[in-house]
Amino acid sequence: MLEALWNNVDYIASVVLFCIGLYIIIAKNNLIKKFLGLNIMETAVFSFIIALGVIDGGDAPIMGAGAQAPFSSPVPQALVLTGIVVAVSTTALALSLIIRIYRQCGTIEADELREME
């Protein structure tokens, strides 16, 4: 049992990170903090996908002299690269929304905003 847990420690870590992020989104009051929680969740998912492709002692899959199996899978890295682009655009959009909320309402605390509505 412990052995199995230890072998999969990278997956467990990303699930724990994912849950921490979700907790922050639900529990924190400040919009920026909520958004940081979302970023932690994103990082958790990315690290999970990267961990999928890693093989112990695996080499970069570049053919040529000295190329030797086993190779790490390059696909997860391509996926995560795309995922990071998406995460950056989400971050940009969310921060600009927060700026506009602050300009209009003078606060970014969720409970104070709820009272204003």
Binding site: L22, V45, T82, V86, I101, Q104, C105, E117
Partner: protein, 498 residues
């Protein structure tokens, strides 16, 4: 023409490319932007028409960009469910036409930003089209993000004082659901080593342990439920859909929530075919949540005075109908649910565009303020009435057939309780639309000046009336979409032995 193989990539990339080019072509004059968007959507619509004709004559087909064979290359796949791009193109085209006057009229929107509005709208439509035609799980996520991000930005576009707050709420829920989808795409890639949907379906069937596949299924289902705004996770929808500019409300309510439904259908296609899991539990959950959504959505709608908020709640209850149809998983109910994806898009777009026309002319948006408007804007109010009759499901309109089929499915599945829930929901819906029609035609106006207003300009009136007439036509010619979707539903349920 219909057999030209490159229509499929064209239909995805024309709107995306058009969106990127919109700010450039409108550098000289911002008035170019709407016409450019209209031209792009026209090209896309022609391509969509040929694709739908082709799938009707020869069944599902694929396109391999670059000629790489799946599962190594990516695949665009067009089946009968993908035919929903016809409604996406139609409503998208009409929404662009409608925006021509409507967006100029919004005082809070700076005039020089208007080209970006059209760019975002094209991006949103392109993302949706890509989502429904892709055959690759990761591309599914990418297109999901394209359409969601543009939708968040479009909600904030109206500039009303709680618009940003509504958009942020939408963004938080939407981003969490997208991450759940990405997480489960990762799990599926980890256990099968493939991202192509057809390939994944066969490989999942050969696994030793079903537990990770079940985890991925649960996360995909929850992720798409948030996008579809099913009952416990619907809280982002009412504000976002009511605050957005009216043409955007039509696109969001008619089309964007349907993306969650199409996502669920794709998940079912993978898991039914693989046969690795018994989906009975998920089906039960969907049927119950669907039934609760129908009743709760309609119940909340009764108490709304704001016309757009009322329509937004009614979307929740209609998504409930579709999801219940899928969850019952009988031949009738799946056909009814899938056709309701098309028909509800038409009906809800009619209602939101007509409501937008009323707001545009009078500046009021509550039923109390709008009393008596039926006398001064008769055509718009006829469109609203047709939409209302359709959404209640009174024959011979578009809403009747789907709800009839879903109810038949409930009895066929030997769960008559849900048939009654459906009829009960329709009764609630009837109450609030009667309220609306009553306010427009039979109550004395609160504001006398409301009798002075005239009909909305032609670029707004024509799309509304066109969609309203389609609501009637789709009801009378209802046999055609039902027959069209039947083979797809049969193929979806075939592994169940049904």
């Amino acid at each position: 023409m219909a057999a030209w193989p490159h229509w499929l990539p064209l239909v995805v990339f024309a709107p995306l490319l058009g969106a990127v080019l919109t700010p450039i072509v409108s550098l000289r004059s911002r008035h170019v932007a709407p016409w450019w968007a209209l031209a792009v959507m026209s090209v896309t619509s022609v391509a969509a028409l040929f694709l739908v004709l082709r799938v009707a004559s020869e069944g599902p087909f694929s396109y391999l960009p670059g000629g790489w064979q799946p599962p190594y290359g990516i695949e665009l796949r067009f089946d009968e469910f993908s035919a929903v791009i016809s409604v996406i193109c139609l409503i998208g085209w009409l929404a662009v036409l409608y925006s021509l006057r409507y967006i100029e009229w919004l005082r809070e929107v700076p005039k020089e930003r208007i080209p970006y509005y059209y760019a975002l709208l094209l991006l949103n439509l392109g993302g949706m089209i890509g989502f429904v035609v892709t055959g690759d799980l990761f591309n599914l996520f990418v297109f999901l993000e394209i359409l969601s991000l543009s939708a968040y930005a479009l909600v904030a576009f109206s500039g009303e004082h709680i618009a940003e707050m509504a958009a942020f709420k939408y963004l938080l829920m939407g981003a969490i659901s997208s991450l759940l989808v990405l997480f489960s795409v990762g799990i599926i890639f980890g256990i099968t080593g493939s991202l192509n949907m057809a390939d994944v379906a066969t490989r999942i069937g050969q696994l030793d342990s079903a537990a990770p596949a079940a985890l991925a299924l649960a996360m995909l289902a929850i992720g798409f439920m948030v996008k579809a705004a099913l009952f416990p996770v619907h809280i982002w929808l009412p504000d976002a859909h009511a605050i957005a500019p009216s043409p955007i409300s039509a696109v969001l309510s008619g089309l964007v929530v349907k993306v969650g439904i199409i996502g669920l259908i794709r998940v079912y296609q993978i898991y039914y075919t693989s046969g690795v899991l018994d989906l009975h539990t998920l089906n039960q959950v969907l049927v119950w949540l669907g039934a609760i959504s129908i009743v709760m959505g309609a119940f909340f709608a009764i108490f709304q005075d704001d016309i757009k908020l009322m329509l937004a709640y009614s979307t929740i209850s209609n998504v409930g109908y579709i999801v219940m149809g899928l969850g019952l998983s009988t031949n009738f109910s799946v056909i009814g649910g899938s056709v309701h994806v098309f028909n509800h898009a038409l009906i809800k777009a009619t209602l939101f565009l007509a409501a937008g026309a009323l707001i545009y002319r009078t500046g009021y948006r509550t039923l109390t303020d709008l009393r008596g408007i039926g006398r001064s804007m008769p055509l718009t109010c006829i469109a609203i009435s047709i939409g209302a009759i359709s959404i209640v499901g009174i024959p011979p309109t578009a809403g009747f057939l789907c709800k009839w089929y879903i109810a038949l499915g409930a009895f066929e599945a030997d769960q008559p309780f849900f048939g009654f829930a459906l009829i009960f929901g329709a009764l609630f819906i009837f109450i609030y639309y009667i309220r609306m029609v009553n306010a427009f035609y039979f109550q004395a106006p609160v504001h006398p000046e409301i009798l002075e207003v005239t009909e909305a300009p032609l670029s707004m009136l024509a799309p509304t009336l066109f969609l309203a007439s389609l609501c009637l036509i789709m009801g009378i010619l209802g046999r055609i979409p039902l027959a069209f979707i039947e083979p797809a539903a049969a193929r979806l349920l075939a592994p169940l032995g049904g």
